[in-house]
Point group: C2
Chain length 464, copies 2
């Protein structure tokens, strides 16, 4: 008798009705009287449990198994019986139950509801709870949907380096890595740390973005994407920031900002549709227990054409709104989350691309517009979150790129290979970055980034 | 007129014969006389180029474009004409050529063949060469094949942490990360570095494996896999070692070593079949220019049942062979590459699983066998490479696991949550690790790991 997965039973149950089958799993709940008992078994393959019926007359170890603590693991053989009158489509009438691992009464995930904060302290057990079972299955599916989207379009998945010798992207504070003896590091004649003696022969850090290396690959393969971990050593304890997170960065050549926005919109719609279609049970759970309007909100994203507005127009709209913002609005400011959410939630009531930002608030590599004041940047704002994607057309003109590097006081030598991409067959190109955890928060309605990462890393926290 | 990709032309050429089409790309080669010229254009979407025919009578910028340096980027409009008598199936008779980016005569990838060593120094340009175009497209496809394989079987893709607070796996030397001022770090009263002041409030390193965290998730989801970067701060400059590499680590619950080996064999066959089917041009190139017997070797893998032998039997076979090894054979040694290759290439002539290794040469978490001398470990050896996969059934019995941790002088407190997995519903489980780069080397025939990683990191090298 082959062991069947609970997912198979829920998806193709009729095929197995009134047949002898075998399942395994962990006990989620159990109750019993002297001669009769029930347990809900979850085998990890599906969001839902199977109800197992235990009868004292049939099972010689009835007493043992009805006393098993929650989360004990068992093998069950029995007959799958349809139950048209109850909430569940079927139940399993056990003929034999073999105990695999006996749990303990100290098991912390008992029936009562725990706070998400508490569950973070048992990150090794929380995927066994309904919420995290749903979150991390959706996370897995969304990752695959992203790969599928890009691979089907012929994009080349590029593993850009995690360890980097430069802060070339300039996106933020970095983690330094080293194998030097910190207690007594080698020093140069002038007393500085001698990183020439370090593992890589120079100072190295954890990457904040694979974009620059991604550009090199886009100028060979035309269409590439990265999907890997990135790091920020920022001491910010917010619900939206983690020190380690995964990022997707596509880069396309022979393409401009419009192509870039089209790609971003298509990608978001694809991933959301994929999840709605492939994780209906998990999404129904989130919609009931995490965020009441979630599915409607996501359907709205899939079915609407994203709006487009320039930064300059957006500033005018915010000014005209007469709304009191904490952070006053005027041309030149970096849009804050309150502004972004007002634009997408109140003004447009759907996702919006804001384009053509002042060059002063954007990175050196973004393409300078003819007005010399703005750059061909775009941020995608979505209701409930604000910015979810940031991208730009890249500066492909070597003279302007060099000028921008100098204007910003960066060191041209550090960018020798990046500049060479413009020297040897430069091409119009563009790309964007999507924070994977932000996307998962958006899709699941979960509001703290710590609850969408299996073992989150934040300031003062690298447990497990 | 929509721009067509060169891949589309090669896959569905007839559909576009004798029609006006538009392509873009970078010039790979070009030659011309006064009135007539050819250029080979590559747009990055496909391994092969398209031949463009240039006629002085038709193109008013004929002189300009025939003088363009290699790697300049252009847009071409013209008629796609079948050429049944020539090597290529078709050519594009240009009606209009627009120059996008003029390259320079200093472009280093000229027609002459460069050594792979030299190409490593121009890692930002080498994906434009035939060899690396093929390698990195295959790398991308293989990554996707791995995701596809596991997702279709219902495995949950789990992002285990990159930053870790412990060397719990004990697999090797690690990179420490820190944001402390290395010149003048805070110290405790007894003069040691005070890592309580560091970003995470303790000493942290880059992960060497996601296995232990993966086990936590397998005991919730039954079937999980990781696919992410891992790090080794080992000062070994070999063709097979990199400091940063990607690893796939599946973990399955309610499963033993046999299930584990079956999964490994199925996975390898799936990925190799996927590449043979989806990258025929690249594989033909490798078979011609990198490794003459490659395709035959891979077909052999796909079509053979892997052999199985215990470590003890393998040692006997090696002893009986009377072959002189550099490293003498006797029960208890760790098998060296020379032994592994002899076993798979000479004795079995196909992939082999070697199982049941002495516990002394394997990790603490592997399941102790009844003989108390060996553990339920398996290594998968393949011809031409040696070990490509290492795995084991994990010790699910808490008392034995605790004993093994003590025997090896490890600190039980560091493993509190790992031990709890055995306390709260322990379950037979198993898993393995596959070094992604080793797999790519195997599939492509490329013999240096530096040539299958876009921007490799090795001792004294973190360029780009």
């Amino acid at each position: 008798m082959k062991t069947l997965e609970i997912k198979e039973l829920y998806r193709n149950g009729e095929k197995h009705y009134n047949q002898n089958i075998k399942v395994n799993g962990w006990i989620r709940t159990s109750r019993s009287s002297n001669a009769f008992g029930f347990m809900e078994l979850n085998d990890g393959t599906f969001f839902k449990n199977i109800q197992v019926v235990l009868e004292g007359d049939i099972l010689d170890n009835f007493k043992e198994i009805t006393k098993l603590p929650i989360s004990s693991s068992v093998y069950v053989e029995g007959v799958l019986v349809p139950t048209p009158d109850s909430k569940q489509p079927f139940e399993l009438k056990a003929q034999k139950v073999v105990v695999e691992g006996v749990s303990s009464s100290e098991y912390p995930l008992q029936k009562k509801r725990h706070s998400l904060e508490y569950l973070r302290t048992i990150a090794h057990l929380r995927p066994r709870s309904n919420t995290f079972s749903a979150v991390f299955r959706v996370r897995s599916m969304a990752a695959f949907a992203i790969h599928k989207f890009f691979q089907e379009k012929g994009f080349v998945y590029t593993h850009t380096p995690i360890i980097t010798g430069s802060d070339a992207e300039g996106a933020g504070e970095m983690f330094r890595l080293s194998t030097l003896d910190m207690s007594n590091p080698p020093r140069t004649e002038d007393g500085k740390i001698d990183f020439k003696e370090d593992f890589f022969g120079k100072e190295t850090n954890l990457t904040v973005s694979g974009q620059l290396e991604g550009e090199a690959y886009a100028l060979a393969f035309q269409k590439i994407y990265t999907f890997g971990p990135t790091f920020r050593a920022e001491n910010s304890n917010t619900a939206r920031h983690a020190s380690e997170f995964w990022m997707i960065e596509p880069e396309i050549a022979f393409a401009d900002l419009n192509d870039d926005m089209k790609l971003a919109e298509d990608m978001l719609k694809y991933v959301i549709s994929y999840i709605l279609e492939n994780a209906p049970e998990e999404m129904a759970f989130f919609n009931s227990f995490i965020d009441k309007g979630l599915i409607e909100k996501l359907n709205n994203i899939v079915n609407s054409d994203f709006a487009h507005v320039t930064y300059t127009e957006a500033i005018e709209l915010l000014e005209k709104s007469n709304k009191e913002f904490d952070y006053p609005v005027k041309w030149g400011i970096d849009l804050q989350t309150e502004h972004e959410r007002y634009i997408t939630e109140e003004i447009f009531k759907k996702p919006v691309f804001v384009t053509d930002y002042p060059k002063e608030i954007k990175a050196f590599y973004m393409r300078l517009s003819d007005d010399e004041k703005t750059v061909a940047a775009m941020d995608c704002l979505v209701p409930g979150v604000g910015e979810i994607i940031g991208g730009s057309q890249r500066e492909e003109r070597i003279d302007i790129l060099e000028r921008r590097i100098e204007e910003l006081g960066l060191n041209k030598e550090d960018y020798w290979w990046y500049l060479e991409l413009r020297k040897f067959g430069t091409t119009k190109h563009a790309g964007f970055g999507l924070g994977f955890e932000r996307l998962i928060m958006y899709i699941t309605g979960i509001s703290n980034i710590r609850d969408v990462i299996p073992f989150p890393r934040t300031p003062n926290n690298a447990d497990f």
